[in-house]
Amino acid sequence: MDDVISLGVGEPDFRTPWNICESGIYSIEQGVTSYTSNRGLQTLRDALSAHLASRYQLKYSADDEMVITTGVSEALDIAIRAIVNPGDEVLIAEPSYVSYAPCVALAGGIPVPVECTEKDHFRLSPEALQAKITPKTKALIINFPNNPTGAVMKKEDLEPIADIVTDRDLLLISDEVYSELTYESSHTAAATVKDLWERTITLNGFSKAYAMTGWRVGFLCAPKELCDAALKIHQYVMLCAPVMGQVGALEALRSAEDEKTSMVNEYRLRRNMFVSGLNKIGLSCHVPEGAFYAFPSVKGTGLSDVEFAERLLKEQKVAVVPGSVFGCGGDYHLRCAYAVSRKDLAEALSRMETFLNGL
């Protein structure tokens, strides 16, 4: 199909900042092409440890509390496999990224969704969490800023969650890959809230903040015992993250701050423009405070999210992702990624308006 505007892509539309690309190219020229240590390059871990401390007040030792992984996808898989025994229940705050439940199932666990609702601005409510905990519950997976809703949880939102997780002796996997993409306030890392640090596995990566999706570099941070368990799996299944990616990631930490800020500023402008546009054409949409997704409701249209998305693509050539793909709480919503140019966003809005008028 030609002339399609895709708002279905969950990755930045920017190119990787050139200094990062250049450092990767230079390292290849210099013959830096071998395995690295299982944990990842020492220089990268040192820089990362300092960065996490200064940016998020997250304290992780470079030596035994972090592993550089092949994207956050791998970090997620090894985190789950490190803690889940067959039959364990793992709570997943949904709507959520599509990999969590399958990864839990692959590890023999039982994924249990906990719904985050629009009335709570898609934040995880303590009541909803409490209601799903059973004696078999092992862990909770959260992802804020959230894909697909753009929801953010601040310190005061995380505190009651922390109390429950601690009281019920659960582990927490916090996927914070969108942590740099917040538009109203700076990100609160879950492990910095109350006593969560000792029971949290923090996942993050370079893909979204630095437009480095194809470089495949993420990381897992956790207290030594948890980190060792994940590292054991990592060394058997992955050995190490690609070295060129790690070199690029190091450069990103050292000197891509300005590029990152200008990308975040651009996302903010697009978000403001796109979300106000959605509300104007009659698709009600809460203001997403992070990531690069808008999650409007189609409830008033008489169509389900799947019908809406299919017809919108066929009739007006705009691709969006039906919310029900992202688990419970996602139905009757659309995930629209605004990581496309403003020109395309304006065109998409006008096509969506035409579509709505024809219903």
Partner: protein, 163 residues
């Protein structure tokens, strides 16, 4: 000057033709306020002018530009200012900067053809008092102007959907 003003400047620097309506929807300001703020920025000369980045080579008007470096003897009390101001009055001078290094002033000039540029340098710039030395570099091709690349870049391929 506040954060919103800086945001407006960044937006306008990238595209000064956006309407107040469009800028308003991007910044959560109402269009009237956008216009008022831009007007204030124009009034106090933070915004100097609205202009266009043109790939003249593509436009094919044959215009030539050159970078001229000048060694200058500074004047007591004025330094380089008076001579720089004199030079900048010439229409041919597009950009003029005081720089560190071997030379003092860097002048970007443009003209209809090579003859015009060289006549300008030899008749107007070089004989000027206090100019001790000139070095003229003709621009052969421009790859980037004011943050804008002038060559075609390959479109990168993205997946139509990814989660």
């Amino acid at each position: 000057m506040d954060d919103k003003d800086l945001e407006l400047l960044r937006i306008l620097e990238e595209n000064s033709r956006l309407s107040a309506q469009e800028i308003g929807s991007m910044t959560n300001l109402n269009p009237v306020e956008v216009e008022a703020r831009i007007h204030a920025l124009e009034e106090n000369q933070v915004i100097r002018k609205y202009t266009t980045v043109i790939n003249w080579e593509k436009a094919g008007n044959g215009e030539v530009s050159a970078i001229i470096e000048l060694k200058v003897s500074p004047e007591r009390d004025f330094g380089y200012d008076r001579i720089a101001e004199r030079l900048s009055r010439f229409r041919q001078v597009r950009t003029l900067r005081l720089i560190t290094g071997t030379y003092d002033l860097q002048v970007m000039v443009s003209g209809k053809n090579m003859q015009e540029v060289s006549r300008f340098v030899s008749e107007h710039v070089a004989p000027m008092d206090r100019i001790r030395e000139t070095a003229t570099h003709i621009v052969m091709k421009s790859y980037k102007e004011n943050g804008n690349t002038l060559f075609e870049q390959q479109e990168t391929e993205r997946l139509p959907y990814s989660f």
